[in-house]
Each structure stands twice: as C-alpha cells, then as structure tokens.
C-alpha cells in the first residue's frame, strides 16, 4: 500500500495546487459559507420574508439593531419599506441569486459544451451553422438579449434562468470548440480511433475530459456574471416578482431611500452581492492558474 500512496490522481494534484493560494482558499471558504447559508436560509433566517402574515408594516424602515414593536425579534440589519427583516431577506435573496447563477451556468455549460464539441469534432457544415449562430448571439450585448427575452416571457425564476442560458451558451460553445479543435489533432485521439473505439466513447471519454479545464474556468467566471446579470435585471424590475426578492431587487427597493439616510436597505444586499461575486472570482482566478495547460509541468 505504501507504494500506491504516492500515485497522485489528477484530482489530488489539482487540490494540492489549488491550495497554494491563500486568497483562493479564503475565497472558497467565503463562497462555501454563503452557499451553505443560502441553502439553509429557511432554517436559520429569523423571519420568513415571503410569509406576509409574519411581516408587519409598522416595522417598516427600522434601522439596524432595532427591536420589533410587537413580534419581539431584533432586526440586526434593519427592515425594508414593507417591514421585512433585511438579514432574512438577504439570506433568501442569496438563495435565489445562487440558484439562478448555478442553474443557468450548468444548463448553458451543458448545451454549449455539447454544441461546441460537436462543432469541433465533426466540423464541416454543422460547425459552420453552430458557430455562426454563436457569433451572431455574441455580437449583441448580453443585457440587451436578456431584456428582450424577459420582456417577451414575463417574470419568473424559470424564465430568468432561460434568458441567462440563452445569453451564455455561446461562450461555452466557443471555448469548447476551440479546445476540441486543439485536442482532436493530438495523437491520443488518433490512437483512440486507431484502436477502433466507438465514436461516442472517443468524444465523451477521451475528448470531453481533456476539453474541460478551460470550460471550468469560463464557467466559474460566468456564474459570477450570471448572478450580477440577474441582479441587474431584477434591479431594472424585469427579473423576479416583488414577493420573492433576489439581491438585485432588494438593492432596487432601497434605492429610493438611499439619500434620505436609510442606507441599510440597499447597502447590506449590495455588500452581500459584492462579497459573493468577489469570492467566486477569487476561486475562478485560481482555477485559471491551476488549469492553465501552459503552466502545467507534466
């Protein structure tokens, strides 16, 4: 067993290299904490901000640390104009933001990866069609496409995920295609063809894993941009219904009161959004360092 102990799997090597940056470790700890808090929101939040029966308009716009007049809870981060506890609203809002960011990234990655691999491996007309559609898509600003789609579809979590997928698949398709073009010329693919392996196995077991590193980097960065795009759309009033506020909508709600001294309604959701995105970017930057093939000594 002693001899096997030093055979390092790629995953172990990856973790070892990832840990080398303190900032990235800090980022991943922060990110993990926020995701856990978001997932556990219904159990750890002092108040359910979606339950109208629990919300008291008399408690509206209380400053941080104020006590509720009737319900006996302390509003650590204050309340908004409807009397919602800001801490609870932020936890629930993060839940939505993280869900929207991850769901749209996973879906867009799956679609973009499949189309990009197909384009890169098969080539020819199929490649031409897929890549021209992606080019057209990328030539419009993503916020514009999302705005148009949401204006047509109306509000709702599912629809905002759909809009974000429509905006983002093209990035993955492009990255996957260029990675597939490089990888399929390598000898191990030729060797796999020479071994008579079935085409599906060559694409999924040989080509795909070797195309993943750049896609993981793009995906990590795109989660952050999906979350901020969703916040932007919600801020503009096009994302989610007012009864289920995400971080963007919370910021928009407090925006009117910002200049009248009631800073907390916008500020705290803003900080939460900022920390979330910075944490994701720290992780993504280190992923790029570790997964960069040019920096990898084999």
């Amino acid at each position: 067993m002693e001899a096997r102990a030093h055979i390092e799997t790629p995953l172990q090597a990856f973790l070892r290299q990832f840990r080398s940056s303190k900032l990235a470790v800090l980022g991943s700890v922060l990110l993990l904490a926020m995701i856990v808090a978001a997932i556990l929101a219904p159990w750890i939040a002092p108040q359910n901000p979606y339950d109208l029966a629990r919300i008291d308009v008399l408690d509206a716009r209380l400053p941080p640390g104020a006590m509720s007049a009737e319900h006996g809870i302390r509003y650590l981060l204050g309340t908004d104009e409807q009397g919602r506890d800001m801490l609870s609203a932020i936890l629930y809002g993060m839940r939505i933001s993280v869900f929207v960011g991850v769901a749209s990234t996973v879906l867009a990655l799956a679609i973009g990866l499949a189309l990009g691999l197909l384009a890169g491996y098969v080539g020819g007309k199929i490649e031409g069609i897929i890549m021209r559609v992606a080019d057209i898509q990328l030539s419009f600003p993503s916020i514009l496409i999302a705005l148009i789609l949401l204006a047509l579809l109306g509000p709702g979590i599912g629809k905002i995920v759909l809009a974000l997928v429509a905006v983002q698949w093209a990035y993955y398709a492009r990255t996957a295609r260029s990675a597939a073009l490089v990888e399929r010329r390598k000898e191990y693919i030729e060797a796999a063809v020479g071994l008579g392996l079935p085409p599906s196995r060559i694409v999924f077991r040989h080509l795909l894993p070797n195309c993943l590193p750049p896609l993981i980097v793009v995906a990590a960065l795109q989660v952050a941009s999906a979350i901020s795009l969703e916040a932007t759309l919600s801020f503009l009033g096009l994302g989610l219904p007012v009864t289920e506020p995400s971080l963007g909508l919370l910021i928009a709600n407090g925006f009117n009161y910002l200049l009248s001294g009631k800073y907390w309604i916008s500020l705290f959701p803003g900080i939460a959004l900022l920390v979330l995105i910075v944490a994701i970017n720290l992780v993504a930057d280190q992923l790029r360092e570790v997964l960069n093939p040019r920096l990898q000594a084999l």
């Binding site: 191990y188 071994l195 008579g196 196995r201 077991r205 070797n210």
Partner: protein
C-alpha cells in the same frame, strides 16, 4: 517454410494511391504502392520525411482525413479489401485485426485516464468480456512487454511513466486483441538508443512467437538492418526498391538506396566526412516527371524523364533505368 506462403499472406497492398487535393493541385502522397506481409514477418518501410511512408500506414488503417483521400488500389487483409468496408466495419478492424503504434509515446496515451481504463476499453471495444476479465488481460499484456509490477502500473496515469515505459504500454495495448498485423510508425524514434534496442528486441520476439505480422516504418536504415526480414525503400510516394533486407543492403540496385546506405554513420570511416545525397527531397507538388529521384541522382540520364518499369530478380524488386551492382547494366526502350 515457404511452401504455403500464399496462404500465409496477412496483408497485401496493391497499387495503392493516396492523394491530397490542395489549392496548388493534387498531391500524390502515395503512388502505386504494392507490397505484402506474411505471418510472423517483419517488413521495414524506409524513407525520408515526405516520402509517403506514414501516409501508406494511415491509408491501410483508413485514418486519412480530408482533404486527403484514397484514390485507388486495394488493401487486402486476409483476402478482404479494407477499402470496401463500411466505417463501422472498419472500426471493428482497427485495434482488433490491425493495431497501430504511433511515433510519440508521450502523446498517444490519454493524459486524464488511468492505464487500466485505457487498456480495458481497448479490449471491451472488440471482445465481449467483463471488466474483471479485461483487467486481467490488461495485466498479462503489460507483463508480456516486460513491465515490472504490472498490477501497480495499471492504476497509474501516463504522466507517471517515462517515454520508454509509455511506449511499452502502447505496445501492450496493440497486443491486447491479438491482431494479425501491427503497424509501427517510427515508434522508437523518440526514445533513447538503449531503450530502442530493448523494444526492438521485444517486438521481434513477440511477433515471432505469436505469428503477428509487423510493418515497421522508420527513416533509420540501421534500425531495420538487424531487425526486419524484408525492406521497402520509399521515395517521392513510390516504392523504389524492395526485397530481402540482407540482399537489398548488400547489393542495392537503386541509387537512392545506395545513397541511404552510404550516408549512414556506421558505414563511414572515422574522420572522413559523411556521404551525403546532394540536394533535398523535392516537395510532392514539384516532383520531376519520370523517376522522382532523377534530379538528385548521380546516374540519371535523359531516359529517366520517363517512369522506369519494375525490374525483379527473385524477391528483389527495383525501379531504375541505371541500377547499381549489376553484372551488366540493362537498357530499356
């Protein structure tokens, strides 16, 4: 031994043509190439880069990507023309009846998959065996190519191996399905000389034992000299001379073969400058008419502007108007 040699023929290539359609015109990378290999026989194909030797191998495997295409000829494996097979039928031949070993062992193994995964999938693509049995076969194959502690090596990743070890793994993979023919495209070029010697010796033994035919493609005449049974010398997409290794090396008839032999370092005396064939191989787009070698040939005359016919003496075949080492020079036309 040779009384049933027709039945022993594993691969017969007849008038094989492979060409690339480029903007500048059609490039004939493989031109009217014919040869055959018997069970347990080692055929060396020697030539410079661009001579068409690798393209011949890729054509046999039907691994030619557009704009290249096989324009004619037949590739008969045990009598069956591979060029008539469907893609799916051809897939079943690759890695199963014909295996190929590539030049760069650092590149032919997938870096993200463990050795056992890669070996087991090669078996299970062609044989209906379970995982446990496939793993056992993989371990046996590693042991057969002289890999120490094969069980441990199965769990390793390619990057943990040296170049020689990786090439052994590649050879073990090629042997997995007990193919009739193994095509080796310069498999020892990237290796140290000592490792090269070991691998040559092992391949020779493995082929003699199992009866597998072997095509060994190389630019190094010295490798083939002590190793192959027969030899094809390629130049400009054509076979210019072929025959039993000893005979061709002792009495080369084509001036190009003679030049190759004369320019190999071991044949030259210490301190004397190496013999060189003047000039370099012309691009396949600019091959001269007739004999492709005539622009560099010291014996060329006007008649060489037409394509010489094939001359033969027993197994020894050549294509030249002015062959060397002949008691009397033949004249044509």
């Amino acid at each position: 031994m040779s009384h049933v040699h027709i039945d022993n023929t594993v691969l017969r290539v007849e008038q094989l043509q492979m060409q690339f359609a480029t903007r500048a015109g059609i490039v004939k990378a493989v031109n009217e190439v014919s040869f055959s290999v018997r069970r347990g026989e080692i055929l060396g194909i020697v030539g410079e880069s661009g001579s068409g030797k690798s393209m011949t191998a890729y054509s046999i495997m039907r691994l030619i990507d557009p704009p290249g295409r096989i324009a004619g000829g037949r590739v008969l494996l045990n009598g069956q023309n591979l060029l008539d097979l469907s893609d799916e039928q051809m897939r079943r031949v690759r890695g199963n009846r014909i295996a190929m070993i590539f030049q760069d062992p650092m590149m032919t193994l997938n870096p993200v998959l463990r050795i056992d995964t890669q070996m087991m999938e090669a078996i299970r693509a062609h044989q209906p065996v379970g995982k446990a049995q496939a793993r056992e076969m993989a371990r046996d194959a590693l042991a057969r190519v002289g890999m120490p502690a094969p069980e441990e090596k199965l769990a390793a990743y390619p990057h943990q191996f040296s170049g020689g070890m990786r090439q052994r793994v590649a050879i073990a993979i090629a042997l997995l399905n007990k193919p009739d023919l193994i095509i080796c495209d310069e498999p020892t070029t990237a290796l140290d000389v000592t490792i090269q010697g070991q691998i040559l010796h092992e391949m020779q033994t493995l082929c003699r034992e199992s009866g597998t035919a072997l095509i060994w493609i190389t630019h190094d005449l010295a490798v083939v000299a002590g190793f192959a049974d027969r030899l094809c010398v390629m130049y400009g997409g054509r076979i210019v001379e072929s025959g039993d290794v000893r005979e061709v090396l002792r009495q080369p008839h084509h001036p190009y073969t003679a030049g190759l032999i004369a320019s190999s370092p071991s044949r030259n005396e210490r301190g004397r400058p190496l013999y060189q064939i003047t000039g370099s191989m012309p691009s396949l787009l600019e091959l001269p008419s007739g004999c492709p070698f005539r622009t560099r040939c010291p014996r060329a005359t006007d008649v060489c502007a037409t394509m010489p016919d094939v001359d033969a003496q027993g197994n020894h075949v050549w294509r030249c108007f002015h062959p060397m080492n002949q008691p009397t020079e033949r004249t044509h036309g």
